[in-house]
């Protein structure tokens, strides 16, 4: 692609790209997000390419370079559509048809019916109840969402900058470079009240202004893409599906604070995000949108990618900058804050992916528009990774202030198997639980904080009545304990001790004093840990202990786990009435705990049983059950 030297040239490229997309009679967008790729969408893409190639009557373009040819059909790898539960997803534009759970063998049918004739393939459409949804926007999962930040994810090919340009990409950058002074940019962001989407909800405009006022002239813009919360994948989807939006946000930040260099810190577990980002940066550099003297304005910005090495703690600002510097990723005490002495000891703007992705929207649509979405103190939308016991899991975006009920029931379609809602873990291992009475509470920074939870980066794990809350606490504590950097005493030793106590309780060896000890440790860790991760490490325990204390008591006093999750309390029994004496269970038992005579009821030796459940799955007559 040719270098774009001026604003006019950018306008021309944009027009050409737009025209090329409009020319397409049909665009096939195959979701190439991590989930759909795992489901086989790569092979589907290849097959679709083959099919169109086999047909000499159809002109097809796969690459953006083909933009000038009169291609009829575009076969595109798009970013994540969000409806991961129903993947692999294939979307046909301009019809807006969304095919779900597409298999390799469906490709021919899609090609011959939809692409060639414009007919739908009914069995690939999404169905909810008796309703069959042809268009993506009609599906309840999408209908109730407000997709601003994720708007392009699933709609454009993230591997070609022209696609982003065609839909107005880099217009916000153009606006700030030609019409706004750095101070005005900061002013606009400040007025929008954009709060950091990484967890803390810190005022973004204020952060930028703090960096801008430092005496030190070398400044950095750093993007935190180290999304480590279990179950969270909002940032990954943006980086994979719409990387330029985030890059554009970073460039606007750099212009606003006077930075010439930026870093994107991405966890190494996101190889696709890394390769898409690399490609995006290379393409932006090639066409002169990154580098020196951008669009002839004198503004220069270079962007580097740093891969994290798998440490959750590197999502914490000072650990992240230490890691980029090549040091051990450990948080340091603040002050000095990152805005004063961040990366390489220089003033640094550190925001997360979603925050940066909001910036171009605010610049283009204005702060007033942004503030019109959601509550006054937490305006805008928020992306959530909806997972757990909910019918439709996936990536969603809703206005701040949406209630949990709307998210779980309207978008998520309710609890899986029509079970009963028990709780939702919000904010990952640093967050807390929300329960039924909280279903109608507004999801925003301040309301959640009041309830001892936090939005965090946006992980929403929905739990039904079959969830053991002791196990939930144990799971998150195990995670935090594994991910502690080991620097400060309370986090290093305290989380280990808490985990041991939780393990004790979950295996029937706990006592009531253990609950006091948990509370004691929780308060010590919360009060004294060095960094934000340590300070919030005990939150899942504190929150479950407060909301589900009787479950803990049940574990320690009655030696019982009502949800039958904790294996130690399981007692497998063979019903003599139902057992046919087929011996299948005995053969499946890894420890030979089952004995009996053929055609007579078998018996499990409780002493030998390791409670693995192999027999239960093996039994063809449902004769094996868990007592209690």
């Amino acid at each position: 692609m040719e270098r774009i030297e001026s604003r006019e040239a950018l306008g021309q490229v944009r027009e050409v790209s737009k025209a090329w997309i409009e020319q397409s009679r049909c665009r096939v967008l195959i979701c190439a997000g991590t989930g759909c790729l795992a489901g086989g969408s790569g092979a589907i893409y290849d097959r679709m390419c083959e099919l169109v190639n086999e047909n000499p009557d159809i002109e097809v373009h796969f690459e953006a370079e083909a933009a000038h040819k009169d291609g009829e059909i575009g076969i595109k790898k798009s970013g994540c559509h969000g409806f991961c539960e129903m993947g692999p997803l294939v979307k046909i534009e301009p019809h807006g048809i969304l095919y779900t759970k597409v298999q390799l063998e469906d490709c021919d049918e899609i090609f011959h019916k939809t692409i060639e004739k414009g007919e739908v393939v009914p069995h690939l459409l999404f169905k909810q109840g008796d309703v069959e949804y042809q268009k993506q926007e009609d599906i309840p999962f999408y209908k109730k969402q407000t997709r601003h930040v994720l708007k392009n994810c699933g709609h454009i090919d993230a591997e070609h900058i022209q696609e982003y340009l065609a839909i107005g990409g880099y217009e916000a950058l153009e606006k700030v470079l030609f019409h706004m002074k750095p101070g005005e940019v900061i002013q606009e962001i400040t007025e929008s009240n954009l709060r950091g989407r990484g967890g803390g909800g810190f005022d973004t405009g204020y952060k930028w202004s703090q960096v801008a006022r430092q005496h030190e002239k070398i400044r950095y813009v750093v993007c935190n893409g180290d999304e480590g919360d279990p179950g969270a994948f909002m940032d990954r989807s943006i980086m994979e599906g719409d990387p330029h939006k985030m890059i554009e946000g970073m460039m606007i930040a750099a212009y606003a604070v006077g930075a010439k260099e930026g870093y994107v810190y991405v966890r190494a577990e996101y190889p696709l995000a890394i390769s898409r980002l690399k490609l995006a940066i290379a393409q932006a550099e090639e066409c002169g949108l990154l580098g020196d003297n951008i669009l002839g304005t004198g503004f220069s910005f270079r962007l580097h990618i740093n891969r994290g090495a798998g440490a959750f703690v590197c999502g914490e600002g000072s650990a992240l900058t230490a890691s980029i510097e090549g040091n051990r990723g450990m948080p340091r005490v603040k002050p000095p804050r990152t805005v004063e002495q961040g990366l390489f000891g220089k003033p640094t703007v550190l925001n997360n992916v979603e925050t940066f992705a909001n910036v171009p929207l605010i610049i283009l649509e204005g702060s007033q528009w942004f503030k019109s979405i959601g509550p006054e103190n937490s305006p805008g939308t928020k992306a959530f990774a909806l997972t757990g016991s909910v019918k439709h899991t996936g990536l969603i975006e809703v206005p701040m202030g949406t209630t949990l009920r709307e998210v779980i029931y309207d978008i998520g379609g309710g609890i899986k198997d029509d079970g009963e809602f028990k709780a939702v873990q919000i904010g990952g291992p640093s967050g807390g639980c929300l329960v039924s009475p909280h279903l109608d509470v507004s999801l925003d920074f301040d309301s959640l904080k009041k309830m001892g939870a936090m939005i965090g980066s946006g992980g929403l794990v929905v739990m039904d009545e079959n969830t053991c809350m002791v196990e939930v606490a144990r799971f998150f504590m195990n995670f935090t304990q594994n991910e502690s950097c080991g620097k400060c005493v309370p986090c290093r030793e305290g989380t280990k001790r808490m985990l041991e106590i939780l393990e004790r309780i979950a295996t029937g060896n706990g006592n009531l004093e253990d609950l006091d000890l948990l509370e004691e440790l929780s308060s010590t860790i919360t009060e004294t840990a060095l960094c934000g991760l340590g300070k919030s490490a005990a939150l899942p325990v504190m929150s479950t202990l407060k909301l589900f204390r009787d479950e803990y008591v049940e574990h320690v006093s009655d030696k019982k786990c009502a949800s039958r999750t904790c294996t130690a309390f399981r007692k497998f029994i063979i019903s003599p009435e139902l057992c046919k004496g087929c011996s299948k269970c005995a053969r499946s038992c890894p420890v030979n705990a089952i004995s009996g005579r053929i055609k007579e009821p078998y018996v499990i030796d409780i002493e030998k049983c390791i409670k693995c459940g192999a027999c239960e799955s093996a039994c063809a007559f449902n004769a094996i059950y868990i007592e209690g």
Partner: protein, 580 residues
Amino acid sequence: MENVNIKINGLDVCAPAGSTILDAAHIAGVKIPTLCFLKEINEIGACRMCVVEVKGARNLVAACVHPINEGMEILTNTSALIESRRRTLELILSTHDKRCLSCVRSGKCELQELCQELGVEDENHFEGESPEYELDESAAHMIRDNNKCILCRRCTAVCEKVQSVAVIGPNNRGFSTFIGSAFDMGLGDTSCVSCGQCIVACPTGALYEKDFTDDVLAAIADESKHVIVQPAPSVRAALGEEFGYPMGTDVEGKLAAALRRIGFDRVFDTDFSADLTIIEEAHEFLGRVQNGGVLPLMTSCSPGWIKYCEHYYPDQLEHLSSCKSPQQMFGAVAKTYYAEKMGLDPKDIVCVSVMPCTAKKFEIDRDDQNAAGVPDVDISITTRELARLIRKLGIDFKSLPDEPFDDPLGESTGAGVIFGATGGVMEAALRTAVETLTGEELENVEFQEVRGTQGIKEATYNVAGMDVKVAVASGLSNAKQIMDKVRAGEADYHFVEIMGCPGGCVNGGGQPQVHAEVRNYVDVRAIRAKALYDNDEAKVIRKSHENASVKRLYEEYLGEPGGERAHHILHTTYVKRSIN
């Protein structure tokens, strides 16, 4: 500097702007407990012992690093804070090897002291898994016992920041974190320089020198052996601290008396060989100046520095003086000249040194340190080991009389005694070199420019019409600065003194450990050095070349300084080493 007004525990306090809460509290006489904090070295707020309440702050803050602001109101000793600190201690204890009775630091352990002060009642309050680590005994000079390590990182900070060596650091993370070397190498396999600064930084018994006091006692008990001892200059400036004397008390007389009571056959003094070193080194220096040899000449008394140079500047070894260190010169002379004089077989002489230094344990096993075909020095113990030995043998140190050292290897001058302070070797050498070059007696033997505890000192002296430019550095990060200049060809020095430990031997890795709370606010180096400078000032003979025993040594045995025999006995060689 501008002052800031704050309140600590309700009392008005005025402290310089930019101070930490801990500094301000110190000014106000309020003690806040610390454990990981070492001023200017380890300011990481990791142990959470110094947490305090600040009005308006969301969380407790670490006093050691949190700066004060005008009007700040701080509480340091509420019952909630004491409770919090106690729990933190209990958490530390949950993985700490609590066999305190047999611990080398018992009684001087900062963790133990805090447990007493804060009233820890149950050391097993938080029970659970405790990792078990094997001792790292791979180094010649020390042992790492990670079972006693509390992960405060004082050792790693010293190693990296003060010494620029950085061979230790945290491995693994979270609960599995332990301090060690890269790829879990043994310390002995790394480019550790054996300085022992990590040991003196350690608050607990996790790091300690290899103890050879039993070997000393065994040698003394062996009637076939003639056991002689040589204490280094700075031992006398610090040993008293082990027996309750104020820091900086010179206990030279009691030191000699104690050594005699331990049972050494002769009690000599490394100060003697310090004087000898000056004669040889001054001769080497003048030779290099006159014959266009490699300059600057760099001193070789400090074995930690020598090992550092061998590992990190193997291309610069020709700058090093070939003179053995005073410890080794002493042993070499004892097993040649003294053995001959006494009619002893060098094999039957056991030469013990008492050193402020752990690298000396490494040095005695170096190649080319065996003038008589046997090791010059057989056993090297630290000041701390000597104190342990004195206590073990029931010697009441305080009630000992002051006694002199034995002749002939016990005679020394003021020049020899100041070897223990940074700049001391330079000053001693200047006293001799100036008189040798000018042929005139010095009016003032004190070269104040090279005294003091600054990391790097520079001076230029006009001697007999020539400008002699000298530099003095102590602490290896300072040595690194000098060496980088030398390597780049940007150093126009003629003579450079380098000591591995900051402040020189008085602050060596084998010296009594000083509690961090003292060390953070008192310049240990200066106080101990003063004892040596006072000792020097009180001496009638203050120039090495006037040491009568040294002169006799040359006349009767060595011949000329730098001559063939002197070279064979008193000089050594170096090896190139790699960085691991």
